[in-house]
Amino acid sequence: MSRLNIDLPGLKLKNPIMPASGCFGFGREYSQFYDLSTLGAIMIKATTTEPRFGNPTPRVAETRAGMLNAIGLQNPGLKKVMSEELSWLSQYDVPIIANVAGSLEEDYVEVAKEISKASNVHALELNISCPNVKTGGIAFGTIPEVARDLTRKVKEVSEVPVYVKLSPNVTNIVEMAKAVEAGGADGLTMINTLVGMRLDLKTGKPILANRTGGLSGPAVKPVAIRMIYEVSQAVELPIIGMGGVQSAEDVIEFFYAGASAVAVGTANFVDPFVCPTIIEELPLLLEKLGFEHISECTGRSWK
């Protein structure tokens, strides 16, 4: 019997581990390393209506136990994602969670409507938290009413459940979670990156061409744990947790905080095998900790 299978709205996961959006492209690169069907799900790179080039380089800068990125939602656009990437991914037995982004409300609605029709897209991840684009992104993710209304509009057109990706760059994350719950969200994914900066010692100027970027990696894990801990007690929605996950132990900690599945981001860049390694190690860790099934861990910190 599997200790790892999890059922969430739209998602029958053989295990609760998936690469996070923006850290795995559309899977092609990592398919060189292992069979993508091993994964619980794949959160593909954000998709917008039209192709986007993204920000000028440098797009990454390192920080203590973390990294800043300002890619700027580079992607080939809805049409190509549907015809080339999603169809390529359909050879694998793995549900896809499509990350949906845009500049205007109607962009989100258009992408959600079309991409949710793809047979292997089992859920959407509404990206209202990208800190690296001038319009859209985080602009939708910091005002509760705006996030609620956008969620509602996307829910109206989506053929699959909608998870909303929350930004940690807000005063009150619980309020945001409640707002998107009121808008009809089926689940939450959290946290997106924290806005940060790094300056060059010699020039005194920002290293990133975009000046600011999103902080990810082990450095942000405590923030993610705290926010999931708070939000999971305040809403009824399942949470896919993310933020600095690099080991099976981290996954259990996210479950304890209140998550029902976990996404791995930055760690993929360091170790391309990190997801299958965690999937392999989890049953042993659960055994060691005395759990029959990973679902017993969810919310243990406050239950």
Partner: protein
């Protein structure tokens, strides 16, 4: 195929000021296709720094399964790397990217290899392979100052080698482009700082020209979109090339410098 392997350090020494030569043994050497490819090195098991370090391969020996890299100790990552001793194991992902096409020059022709600073190393294996093929090679190597000069003798064994330093403390004073003016050749292979690559691309649009780019990288395998540049045919559009997986070597005009 790209491998992730713990490779044993065989040799590690400083060959010029802050310039280190590092030789390791590993099965992944079997997978190297061309000179100019690189590897991605994890310099610490702790998560500080988080990312791997992209380092170009300066030479390799398939029979002995060894590869040599030359890097400059500059930031935190390369400082940590410089402290690792022979006998220790190094977590290497590679080989990555596409290198210099050796087949682009034929035996009767002359290839000019132009390197700037830490862009010099990948040209060494290229020089060896071109020489072995019977191509005449000329090298132009540029450095900041005398203490930063390395591999002049190694290159000289394969062909005529000119050295320039910016401050004039060794070789000719000035830039590699000053020396190139007086040479005749059929094809250029170059690696170095972007302003140097730009100057060469502008000055030699009539030649076969291959440039190796450097960019800050995340994953090194094409997934994170950190090291993207605009495609040459579509300078204002959304077409792109990834330095890590489409490059780092490009034909002149293929990308916007």
């Amino acid at each position: 195929m790209i491998k992730k392997e713990l490779c044993k350090i065989l040799q590690h020494k400083e060959i010029a000021k802050d310039i280190y030569e590092l030789t390791v043994a590993g099965e992944l050497v079997d997978e190297i296709n061309e000179p100019g490819q690189f590897v991605h090195i994890r310099v610490t098991d702790s998560w500080d720094p988080v990312l791997r370090r992209p380092i170009s391969i300066s030479s390799y020996d398939k029979k002995r399964k060894q590869l040599t890299m030359i890097y400059r100790k500059d930031g935190q990552g390369t400082s940590l790397l410089s402290q690792m001793a022979p006998g220790m194991e190094l977590d290497i992902l590679g080989p990555l990217g596409n290198g210099f096409p050796v087949s682009e020059v034929s035996i009767a022709e002359t290839a000019l290899l132009v390197g700037g600073g830490i862009g010099v190393p990948p040209l060494y294996e290229l020089s060896n392979q071109l020489t072995a093929k019977g191509v005449k090679v000329i090298h132009v190597l540029g450095f900041q100052t005398e203490s930063a000069v390395f591999y002049e003798n190694e290159f000289s064994k394969n062909g005529e080698t000119f050295v320039a330093t910016v401050d004039g403390s060794y070789g000719a004073k000035g830039f590699v482009t000053d020396i190139m003016k007086d040479l005749s050749f059929d094809c250029i292979y170059t690696c170095g700082p972007t302003p140097m690559l730009k100057a060469i691309e502008q000055g030699y649009s009539n030649k076969r020209l291959f440039l190796s780019l450097e960019e800050r990288m995340g994953c090194g395998v094409g997934a994170c979109f950190a090291c993207v540049c605009k495609s040459g045919e579509d300078p204002n559009g959304t077409s792109y090339k990834k330095v890590c997986s489409d490059g780092p070597v490009f034909r002149a005009g293929e990308v916007m410098l």
